[in-house]
Structure formats: C-alpha cells, structure tokens
Amino acid sequence: MYGRRASQLLKDFSANEPGQISAFDTENFDQVIKECDAHHLELQALMRKIQEEGLDIQTTRNADHYGAVIHHLALIRNKRCLMAYVYNRAEIIQSLRWKVGPVLPEEVQEKASYSEEEYFKNHSAALESYMSEVELDLTVDMVPPKDPYTKVRVLDDIGDVFLSDQSPNLARHSIHFLRRTDAEQFISQGLMEELSS
C-alpha cells in the first residue's frame, strides 16, 4: 500500500515516550524518499501519456488522470510524513537546550543525525547571543522560586566550582545551600538533587 512505510516511520516515533527520541531511522527515511521518486516517475509517465493522446491535461478526466492523481496524492502524503518526522524530532532536540544546557547529552548525541546536531548547536548559539545581549540567563528559574536559596545533595563528584556567590567543593554526597539559579543546571543534568525542607 502506498505511504505505508512513511507512516510506519511515524508510528515508530510515537511509540517512544513523549520527549524521548530513538535513533534517526536513516534506512526507512531514504526508502521513503525513493518511493517519492518512483511516484514522481509514474506521475510523469501518465501525464506524458495523456499529452501523447492529444488530450488537454487540464480538463481530461480519464483513467490516466486518476492514476496520476493517486500517485500525486501518495507523493504528498509521503512528504507530509517525512516533514512531520523531521519537525517533531527537531522540536525535541530544541527543547533539550532549555532542559540540559548547551551540550547535547551523550545518549542523545548517538541518536541524533548530523543535521540535528548542527541544528542544536545553531539554536544554542542563537539563544546564547540573545541572552548575552539582554544580559539575562533565560534558561534558569523555569519554576518560580519561593526562596532564592535551596538545599541540595550532590550526586556525583563535581569538584570545585565558582558560583555566583561562593565557590564550594561539590564532593559527592555533600549537602549545600546554593542559589536556586546555580543549582538548577546541575539538577536538570542529574548531578544533584533538591532536598525538600
């Protein structure tokens, strides 16, 4: 059936949990593009046939016309599936910049295609240049804070870091009282956890 492989691509995509991506399915993606080429050839052949019979291509409504229409529709459908696949993946990749910071996590990097990595880098660069222009980090304080400070436990050996108001040694299992804006990045990267007071 026409368009079957293309919609399978999207079914595989939607089988992931929301916000998660699997490896870019290059094989099926290329196969669908090949299908599009095949539809295009068939479409052209049918249009040529109509013209050779001396009929007006605008008004003819014979079997060749409807064959051509079906190939045209199948092509459009395949295109829509491919576009949706790329678009929805790009949305997720873009959202990662806001969630985990300017470096793509390793496990995502393996799954992203080359263009997706480039997209992430460019989006990140655009965001950073904007943030430096307005002198404000837009990616912090995604949750409105009640208190500017929060108590955290360090989950991994981070070592000495310079934060906005102190430079603590973030050894594993140590507990600190940090500014929320400093802690937020570490928490979303899974290096700290927030302790409820």
Partner: protein, 184 residues
Amino acid sequence: MARYFDIDDIIMEDELISVVYQVGANGVGLLDPGAERNCVEQGAKVELPFWLAHELHMRQAVVVSAPPCFNQKTRKEIQADAAFVDLRSRCPYFYEFGCKVAPLIGDRTIGSFLLYAFTGRYKEVLSKAHSSAFISTPKSTLLTKEETQLYEAARSSMAAFKKWRVGGPRFERASILRKRKPTD
C-alpha cells in the same frame, strides 16, 4: 493545515476505509490486490487509507462506505454498556476518525453516536479512575488513543495538584536523562 505536523493526525488518516471506484485509474495496480492489469477498474471495491479515500471522494472518483467501527453491531454494544466495549482494537482514533468520516458518507447519526459513546465512557472509565482511592489503572486495552491521552492529562494534573498541596522538590532531572544510572 494547522495540524500538518501532527503525528496523531497523520497516523489516524492511515485507517482503512472501503470504497467503490466510480472511475478507472491506470498505473496503480497496487491498490487493488485482485486486479489483473496494473490498474483499478471502474466499480472495483477496494480498501484505501483515509488520506487517499478522502481526496478521491472530493474529486468524485470514489464512493465511501461506512467503516466497520460505526456499524450497527458496535452501536448496539455501545448502547448496552459503553464502558466495556473494546474500541481500541476497532479504531484507535475512534472519535477523530468518526468526525472526519461522517461528512464523507453523509450519515447524520454518527455525530450523536460519537457523543453518546464518549459521554458514557467518560463517566464510567475516566472519571472513576481518578476519584477512586487507590490507583487503579483503567483497562487501558479498551481505551482509544484519544481516551488514553485524556486519562494521562487528568492523571498528571492530579499528580501536580497533590505535589502542590504537599510541597517538596520542584526541580527535577531532565526527563531525557532519567534512564541513566547514577555513576558509582
């Protein structure tokens, strides 16, 4: 066009629907498994995915008949006990698909049937699942994709409400990383 990139919308349009060709079409033998030549004959009865059937219907090339998930048998079952009908296996996008199909087959009863099915099932399955004291997962195998999304939305808002009432940590590790084990 607004839903051009909507994956659920695309997958839903893949649902098969049976049509009768009013015209012949050359070069598309794949569509009719019984065809002898590489074409579809006039009068051929074929199952087409909705995205194709819909467009051909607009060009008056095919006549669409009602898909089996809206037949009398299903309607009777829904009337008997809406909550325990397995709609998922009949059509995972029962409501959306029904809305899209109704104008094509000119059946005015489909709209009210969908509404009846939804109100019945909403009351029986979805709202009960939230008000019950223990966390009982609804029979998710019976729910359509749309109902599952509705259930998830309600569940997450209940969870958010409880979290807000109790308090607690508000920052979380990014969901994309949650599968990684902490390094020892």
